[in-house]
Symmetry: D2
Subunit: 242 residues, 4 copies
């Protein structure tokens, strides 16, 4: 069974009444409940916990990590970011949600600025599947609607994704590459756009299906062990040169 850790900075929900109304137990617990039937072994972790809840032992016991952050990116300890990065290099999957595009770990993995445009206007978002053969799109309709969401618009400053799974249409005239896969080291990474804290996005059945699919996709799938970092004796005879 896949071991999933859901990380949430858990600040908006404690500071803003508007957000607490939508997610009274925090986004992490809403997600944990929403994914309860997905045959995953789920734990949560938050910024406020010791080591942000991401101790060596927790990460060693995590197949896939979900990341939601926004206000408090800077409060995440660099040492923890390094630790998460190391685990991704070793094969841990990472699902970065919404405003996590600006998290330290995502920027470190991408190597780019990860900036974008936004608009908080409660507008309609249509999320279109542009790669219907991808396992992350499994079981989805060709598109689904979020009646009110924050807009994220291009240009999104990421490396070209290895696979583009979703493109969002926004009522106000923008588009966005909403579902992007990346491979870094042995780890698989999925960025998924929706999830503004004032909208009930993480209760939406299609959104939860995407996240569940992406967790399964990102889980380590059995791999060869990379061999690196040493001086290697010759495998074949090398002729003496002059």
């Amino acid at each position: 069974m896949i071991k999933l850790t859901i990380w949430n900075e858990f600040v908006h929900e404690q500071e803003h009444e508007e957000v607490r109304k939508v997610y009274p137990d925090g986004i992490h617990n809403a997600l944990a409940k929403g994914l309860a039937d997905a045959e995953l072994q789920i734990r949560t972790a938050t910024l406020q916990e010791e080591e942000h809840g991401l101790s060596e032992s927790v990460l060693a016991d995590t197949d896939v990590l979900v990341w939601w952050g926004h206000m408090a990116h800077d409060r995440v300890d660099d040492a923890i970011v390094e630790r998460v990065h190391k685990r991704v290099m070793e094969g841990m999957g990472l699902i970065v949600l919404h405003s996590g595009h600006f998290s330290k770990i995502f920027k470190k993995l991408m190597g780019t600025g990860c900036d974008l445009k936004w608009r908080e206007a409660g507008e309609r978002e249509r999320i279109w599947v542009v790669n219907p053969a991808h396992p992350i799109a499994s079981g989805l309709p060709e598109q689904f609607v979020l009646e009110q969401e924050e807009m994220y618009g291009e240009h999104f400053d990421i490396p070209a994704p290895d696979e583009l799974v979703f493109v969002s249409w926004f009522e106000g005239g923008n588009v966005f590459r909403s579902g992007c896969t990346f491979h870094r080291g042995q780890g698989k990474i999925f960025y998924f756009r929706p999830g503004h804290e004032t909208h009930p996005t993480y209760y939406d059945a299609n959104v939860l299906k995407v996240i569940a699919n992406s967790v399964r996709w990102a889980a380590p799938s059995g791999a060869a062990t990379p061999v690196r970092g040493h001086s290697e004796p010759s495998l074949e005879p090398i002729r003496a040169k002059n």
Copy 2:
């Protein structure tokens, strides 16, 4: 359980004593035996059978098709090629082995000439894993040796593969992109280089592991249904233009 059909043109083995010695029951049966433990439901098919053994019902009941051909590419009926192509578009996986690079179905899927260089000199091949995180490399060492193989050398005239899994080193000085994935329609395609008919390559444990891994990778993994081919009513209001 994944339903695998192994297709072989089965001509060399019947016409050339040298090949029959290596594969007395044909390459298809050697592969079927070698993959027997891989928890697959296996059938075989050959050029000589009616409809080349690839009737509508056989293909409808096939999750992944393995293809070995060489001398008789031209004898494969165009209608059967269309039928296989249609199934790949619908999501059937396709594993193309060795000289299958010049098969009608591979060339049709690639859109390029698919030519390469070769040398029959019984030389050593080292197959290096360049994408150790890929499920097709699961359980492999960082490289493995085929003591004697035909050389295939670059330039290999294919579209840039979606993922490059293996690169071959040849004793005689050449390299080759030996393990390449492609996605076409709903189908996953894997090209795997080794398998000259005069060498016992398909008895090699690592080669069999790669093929078994690739069959699992190429099997339909649950997907969204693409919606295409119709005029679509508007989803959102369209303002009248002057």
Copy 3:
């Protein structure tokens, strides 16, 4: 100077008054005029000409070929399609416009069905640049508007493009990967979505800029000569095996 040949099936303009009003001299001549300042050496060719205007000598003298077709895809001679394909393999650039997605040459190069959805509702299209560093986007604003266009909607059945340059937003709620690059053989291919025959799209300054940019991008840029199709002597000593 880049030698550009603009090919148009030139049927709508001769058969439909509505189209003739927009393109009285045909889409090919409208494009030729629109690109006149782009420092290109331009000729046109149409379906009705001998060999569709694409003789061996014309193609040999063409660096980049633009293709517009719709009603008459089936009337394009297979031998001419093979000839164009051969030239793309040799390095000729190919710009496929709008309904050319269903042309024989595009489908042959892609290896997929190339189907999509459409709607003729005169709706607004916003073409967003998602790859601003790409030379095909040179000099463009971050997005531009076509006040009335036919909608093309996902899913678009193509291989994942090598580079995605544009994504379209449609008023009626759809999105589309509108600018896609592919490499096949030595040739560069660009698919560009806009250009319905009843709208004055090919007079739009931004559309013309994209096409001019794409012609420059697709022109042969000096390359190595691929070496293939022969049995190659060994470059390094091969030890005798027992």
Copy 4:
């Protein structure tokens, strides 16, 4: 004319007699001489200069930066690394040579460990063109030989390159992805493997041709200006939700 800055840590040549014999004026000056005919406007910079020779004004006046480093990666000031990174994001090209795979700037751009294997055995390297249509391969033979080089072997811990141009064959049995392109922000990046400090690699005509080609390829080619980092007013009407 493209403005090229060649950066070299310039430590080996000052500390090791063996290296000084090969590059008495430093690798940077050997490269500058070797590229003198390439119609580039060339300056050099080294670790020992103030701000490592990479002041704001120098970088602002640089189209493409070449980077060679090895022993002294850690001595490169983090602030200079940030400055170079910012310029790549803005569109400056970056050519990373050989042991530069472990430089701070390359690792920051890749987001991975960038480790590999090596062997200093003076063995033969054959560099094969696997993408002959790429402008970086322009004018090269299908392969070229470096009689003695350090081996770099897979697995090379980088993201899958956007384009793979060269693969190296090594006498001792290894292979390596030797020429890799990446796009990050508005900048183009090329990693090129050869260039061990004890071998006269940067006097080789083919190596110099690759570097000259890559500088031309990586130069800013005219692009759209990305628009990001602000809250954007609606472009289309947004209906009030209940």
